[in-house]
Symmetry: none
Subunit: 230 residues, 2 copies
DNA sequence: ACCTCTCAGGTTGTCTGAGGAGTTGTCGTG
DNA sequence: CACGACAACTCCTCAGACAACCTGAGAGGT
């Protein structure tokens, strides 16, 4: 359960996830036949067509293979999936927590390594975030993420930059839903402006501890909201 | 559509393949909505259930995403590229640095969240690392990584655990090469035993700051060696 | 003119029932 | 023992019905 976190997940996804876990746990090793559709339907407590669609999803992911007349066979226990779709399945709060861990440390690095160009880019991103205060939630979230991406870029580690980029789609999705759900911008259309400015300032001064602290406080607040919303 | 022509493969697979090709050709760019299931059923000449299963297969592969009441949306035109292969192209020092950032924060989380089972696993991993001191470099590196993986697992965040697992192959490769190159185990076959023990102890005591500090010092030392060796 | 609310139409989600097509193991016969 | 018929399973496909949900247009009030 708790698949979508912010929205109820369809039975098909729950069934697919349940089967995926049981396969990952080794309940049905590679090469073995899964129970029949009608059996699985009774076991999982859903209709037969739902089971079929769940099995199709697993087949699309390369986990199982159906042979007409014979049955459905396990062809891989490890998802062998790409990281982006793994993130899509994970709870938003878990993704956000990891993002927080990564970015807080990235900010400390950025405070030590930022170049004059980085500082210029940071100020531009901060201004863009302010300008986006007039726009819709999605545009504001985009501007916010762009600022954080600029910080990560200032750490000058290509692996770190790519890693953060992987998180962006899922983060964007979750944050837009959160802002909309809690109506975060009802009172202030530009929430967090002060902390973000202080944060950019700390990076510019080369204050690693300060930048990490301010960012952690800011992100932990949002993480708490995500946890309560989920 | 010439779907009925070759009846070798099931209709579902043919329909999924047909849709996959049209998506790859750019007929429906990323973000656009696919025609409705009933429409697709008529154009493809199959029943609605068949279309649904074909769409599920594409969803399992991460190409489309269905939203109840709204439609089925394209989220990728081709299966996303592999993150592991990207890590393989990156410099070992960059990968190791990111690993350090992630794991230091993971250790702080672990100190707050570790269960009695986690503590047991940590002690077992520490003992296994000591036992591996008698073995070859590769086996010792494996035991070392296993201990660090146990710490990350104690943070109880599935995304974090998976993320660390992504790093393991590249880390292992780089560390084995480093140990061999610098002959790190020439004097002491069990280097870092004292710091690792202190580190496990800090996690057990719930000392987040201490665990983070000890781990960071340990990892930074190796990172420095990697930078000089590279 | 603007905003809010309601509602109808369209969309995916889920279940049921029915029959078709293929595979596999059993059993009787030679 | 060899072999063919057969029954019992399996997945495949379709049709229909209803529920849950989203979206945009229009009514109504401010």
């Amino acid at each position: 359960m708790a698949l979508g976190a912010l929205h109820r997940s369809p039975l098909v996804d729950q069934a697919a996830e349940s089967l995926r876990e049981q396969i990952a746990e080794g309940l049905w090793p590679v090469g073995t036949r899964l129970p029949g559709e009608t059996t699985l339907a009774k076991t999982l407590g859903v209709g037969r067509s739902t089971v079929r669609e769940a099995l199709r999803a697993l087949a699309g992911a390369g986990l199982v293979q159906a042979r007409q007349g014979a049955g459905v066979f396990v062809i891989a226990t490890s998802p062998a999936e790409d990281w982006t779709s793994r993130l899509r399945r994970a709870a938003v709060a878990d993704v956000y927590e990891v993002r927080m861990l990564v970015e807080v440390q990235a900010a400390r690095l950025a405070a030590r390594r930022r170049t004059p160009d980085d500082v210029t880019a940071l100020h531009a991103a901060l201004e863009a975030r302010r300008a986006a205060a007039r726009d819709g939630d999605a545009a504001f979230v985009d501007a916010d993420i762009a600022l954080h991406a600029a910080v990560v870029a200032a750490a000058h580690n290509p692996v770190l930059t790519d890693l953060f980029a992987e998180f962006v789609p899922r983060l964007r999705e979750g944050l837009v839903a959160l802002v909309d759900l809690l109506d975060l911008r009802a009172g202030d259309p530009n929430p967090g402006d002060h902390t973000h400015a202080a944060f950019v300032d700390a990076v510019e001064r080369g204050d690693a501890d300060g930048a990490g602290r301010v960012l952690q406080e800011e992100l932990e607040q949002t993480l708490g909201r995500l946890r309560r919303a989920g």
